[in-house]
């Protein structure tokens, strides 16, 4: 240990010599500094944003028509909309726009801005546009489907009477956020609705404005002086791109950052005992699962699929490898969602698995490969599974690869087993049912590639059940429909669903009011003080 007085004296001497700053600087009192890996950002335009970091930034700088309480997502309330009404035939919803609210530019928020934002997102047709177009909207008809019906009213029409909560939750996604029409259109070029400009600029109304994004370096946000709600206590929020967890930990311990957002399981464990640092946890919607490709003849056998669900040591992985960054969860709807099934019927049971393998005609097991993203945590989980599978004779070879590389292979259905992580796109159960339990076309050139398709799982009956659930307007009945689908799915599907993610942030103990919500655009620092 090197903390003696003589050393202190030596240090001071060296400081003078090097001219390094005297005391360790605390972060400025009115600035919140977060360390995160922000290299996933490709755009700041709400019509295009679909990545974790950018979603969170948009969630704190833009507003949608409506929002929900992150602590209880069934509580939906109006933001830009004052109220809304579902038509008796269920084919449209009318929103009344709140009076007297303004964008950061000072322009008033009007019904015209709302219509512009939603039609713009549909016409630009970027990655998240399907969240809106799934209601029967497209570039040709959207001008008739989303219309202004009065000075402060907007009508949103649909092709079928969808469950109202589905529509409302979809409108809380970033793609439904309202942009400042006047400001955006000042920067329009070649009929792009200001897209080129908004990719790196800002035209919203949230508590913070986006001042600057330097790719792979930093995002700087500033308090919105024209915000219609209570002004945020922090004048500035800065995201620093610190990809390495160990580096984040050092910076946090030194007080050079306020919040470390992506510490590894090991680092979290290490800072738990530090009294200057507190840990905040919040369940996220992301699910960790294994996808078993049904094109593989062994994996296509129902008993083999079942056996594999008994060959994962769920609790041990959650406790020792992920150290609290996940909880065991075995159904495709994450906890917190309408109709989520919380039963966890599977645990490591080698004898039972062997029985099932014998029934399937492979008593001695078989060889199989698993495509594994080369991150420490996914690799750790994969190795643990490899070991328990071997106990029943299943020889699993891990094929490490970069994220995009394994994903490319997965989408081409060239894998045996894929270890994946899936996050919901919006807060309604349909988002995960749509991918885990629907496969309208199992052909090789299918138009959509849900997870069921990627694992070549042909399920016409379950697809019909999932489609019916989308049109059920009674929430209780609808929840029951999803529970039924999940019960069957849990037993028969080629998905070994293992964990639900818990987002863990470590922060200086003086930071208060940071909210970790179920999805990334719910993470909120509008009320953070320090």
């Amino acid at each position: 240990m090197l903390h003696s007085r003589t050393l202190l004296a030596a240090t001071v001497a060296v400081f003078a010599l090097l001219g390094a700053p005297g005391a360790k600087a605390e972060t400025p009192a009115d600035t919140l500094i977060q360390a995160w890996a922000i290299d996933d950002i490709i755009s700041l335009d709400p019509a295009e944003i679909f990545e974790f970091t950018a979603s969170e930034i948009a969630g704190n700088s833009y507003e949608g028509l409506i929002g929900y309480d992150p602590a209880d997502v069934s509580k939906i309330y109006g933001k830009i909309a004052e109220s809304w009404e579902v038509a008796p035939d269920g084919l449209s919803i009318s929103f009344k726009i709140r009076d007297g609210r303004t964008f950061a530019s000072g322009n008033p928020i009007t019904a015209e801005d709302v219509v512009f934002s939603l039609t713009r997102a549909v016409k630009l047709d970027k990655s998240p546009a399907f969240i809106l177009t799934q209601f029967g909207l497209n570039a040709e008809n959207v001008d008739d489907m989303v219309v202004q019906t009065g000075p402060d009213t907007v009508q949103f029409k649909m092709d079928k009477p969808y469950a109202p909560t589905l529509v409302l939750y979809c409108l809380t996604a970033t793609v439904g956020f309202v942009v400042d029409k006047k400001l955006v259109m000042e920067h329009e070029a070649n009929g792009d609705f200001g897209y080129e400009w908004l990719k790196t600029n800002y035209a919203g109304s949230g508590p913070f404005t986006i001042r600057e994004w330097r790719a792979n370096e930093a995002v700087v946000m500033e308090r919105n002086p024209n915000y219609s709600g209570d002004a945020a206590p922090m004048a500035r929020v800065i995201y620093r791109h610190i990809p390495e967890g160990a580096t984040q930990r050092l910076l946090l311990e030194q007080g050079d950052i306020d919040i470390a957002r992506s510490l590894g399981a090991e680092e979290i464990d290490a800072v738990r005992s530090n009294s200057d640092i507190k840990i905040q946890e919040g369940p996220k919607g992301s699910i960790y699962y294994l996808g078993l490709n049904q094109k593989n003849e062994n994996l296509a056998k129902p008993q083999v699929r079942q056996a594999m669900k008994y060959l994962v040591d769920y609790q041990a992985i959650a406790d020792t490898i992920m150290k609290g960054k996940v909880m065991v969860h075995q159904a495709f709807l994450p906890r917190g969602f309408l109709g989520a099934l919380e039963e966890t019927p599977f645990s490591l049971d080698v004898a039972k698995a062997k029985e099932l393998l014998a029934e399937a005609g492979v008593p001695d097991g078989f060889s199989v490969t698993m495509d594994t993203r080369n991150t420490p945590e996914i690799t750790g989980i994969a190795q643990a599974i490899q070991q328990t599978m071997a106990q029943a004779g299943i020889q699993m070879e891990l094929i490490p690869g970069d994220g995009q590389q394994t994903l490319t292979k997965y989408r081409a259905r060239n894998h045996d087993i894929y270890i994946g992580r899936w996050g919901p796109d919006y807060q309604d159960p349909h988002t995960n049912a749509d991918t885990f339990a629907r496969n309208p076309d199992n052909g090789d050139d299918a138009a959509s590639k849900p997870l069921a398709w990627r694992n070549a799982w042909d399920i016409p009956d379950m697809t019909k059940l999932a489609d019916a659930a989308v049109l059920e307007s009674d929430p209780e009945k609808r929840a029951q429909m999803y529970i039924d689908i999940q019960r069957e799915h849990q037993q028969t599907s080629p998905f070994v669903i293992m964990f639900q993610e818990i987002e863990v942030s470590a922060m200086r103990s003086n930071v208060n009011g940071f909210i970790v919500g179920p999805s990334f655009n719910d993470n909120n620092y509008a009320h953070v003080t320090k």
Binding site: L2, H3, L7, T11, V14, F15, L18, G19, A20, P21, K24, A25, T27, P28, T31, I33, D39, I42, S43, F50, E51, D125, K126, S127, P128, A129, F130, E196, K199, T200, R214, A215, N216, E217, I238, R240, H241, I242, P243, E244, A246, T247, L250, L251, E253, Q254, D256, D402, G403, Q404, Q405, L407, T408, K409, R411, D425, A447, S448, K449
Partner: protein
């Protein structure tokens, strides 16, 4: 490029220089073309779908198909290459697949960070490496030589990732001698107006000495680490060049004449050893300018190494090609520079040219 020995003063100087220049231009052009072809092909055989990197995992087929065509991936490979080449020749490096930013702007933003780090590192590596190499050569086989050898060995073999974290732990977290990861403290972030992008230079030119000291305290640790690795290489090469020179007859002659030993070592021998040493230093510098992705990751340094790695992982080929061209340019440029220095340092080369 410069070692053409067929001269000898037979023809007049001017056409010969023109001929040399033409040959040089052809070599450079071929080098770049080769670089481009190879990088382009690598980018196309990598089993990564660049469309996925752009639109993510969720978008429907209509979006996928549109982006596929937008990126020009529907055209045959040779046509894609030809289109790219035409653009590059007009100075347009295209846009990033991912962010749609101009590659030239991106590189202009990340390269100065790497250049600043590399420059400080090579200065450290040279200033320490040459005297250590000389010292080791003079004390060949004795303790000093062994010490230098062990220091060098650690330099080659220790993983920089680990040394970097250890350095941060000791000098930043424990001793507080240096500032932490990043290029500058938030407090100074907006006080320096970026002109060159080299923060040391920018802050000094604007007379902001507090900011200068802060930037220095951030750069010194990663630069010392990278400098240590260059030092290991430079000192070893210096040692072997010096041993070679010290065994020459002119050294014996000088000793016989009674020239003082320090003069023999530091003036006579080192001057001759300096000629090949220039190439060693130039190549070390070029290597540093490529950017070290591990160092940049540990020290959260927004440089070229991180940029290129990230682009490659996302199969963002315009960005990778732009970066490769830059690195190729650096190598060619530093090679030319070291050739030029040859002619200054070595009278024999000078006479031939």
């Amino acid at each position: 490029m410069s070692d053409d020995t067929d001269g000898g003063g037979r023809s007049s100087a001017l056409p010969r220089i023109l001929w040399k220049l033409a040959r040089l231009a052809a070599t450079v052009a071929l080098t770049f073309l080769g670089l481009l072809v190879v990088t382009f092909l690598i980018g196309r055989v990598v089993p990564v779908d660049p469309v996925l990197a752009v639109i993510g995992d969720r978008a429907p087929k209509s979006v996928y198909d549109r982006v596929f065509i937008e990126l020009g991936l529907d055209k045959p490979l040779y046509e894609q290459f030809w289109l790219y080449l035409q653009k590059v020749l007009t100075g347009d490096f295209g846009q990033s697949f991912l962010t749609k930013r101009d590659i030239a702007d991106d590189i202009a933003r990340v390269f100065p960070a790497t250049m600043e780090l590399a420059t400080v590192a090579i200065i450290i590596g040279t200033v320490l490496g040459i005297p250590m190499g000389v010292w080791a050569a003079v004390r060949q086989g004795r303790l000093a030589d062994q010490v230098v050898r062990v220091l060098g060995l650690v330099g080659y073999s220790a993983p920089i990732f680990w040394l970097g974290l250890l350095g941060l732990l000791v000098f930043y977290a424990r001793l507080h001698w240096v500032s932490g990861p990043g290029r500058v403290d938030i407090a100074f972030e907006y006080s320096i107006t970026p002109k060159t992008g080299l923060l040391l230079l920018d802050s000094a030119m604007q007379g902001q000495w507090d900011a200068f000291r802060n930037v220095f305290s951030h750069i010194i640790l990663p630069a010392s680490l990278l400098g240590y690795f260059s030092m290991a290489y430079i000192s070893r090469m210096t040692r072997s060049f010096m041993l070679n020179e010290l065994a020459q007859e002119y050294v014996i002659t000088a000793r016989v004449k009674g020239v003082p030993e320090w003069r023999i070592i530091w003036v006579h021998a080192l001057r001759n050893a300096a000629v090949p040493l220039v190439t060693v230093i130039a190549l070390s510098y070029a290597n540093l300018l490529e950017g070290s992705v591990l160092t940049e990751t540990v020290f959260a340094w927004p440089g070229l190494g991180q940029y290129l790695t990230n682009s490659l992982q996302n199969s963002d080929m315009n960005a990778v090609l732009g970066g490769t061209l830059l690195i190729g340019g650096i190598f060619v440029g530093l090679n030319l520079l070291s050739d030029l220095l040859y002619t200054l340092l070595d009278p024999r080369v000078r006479r031939q040219a």
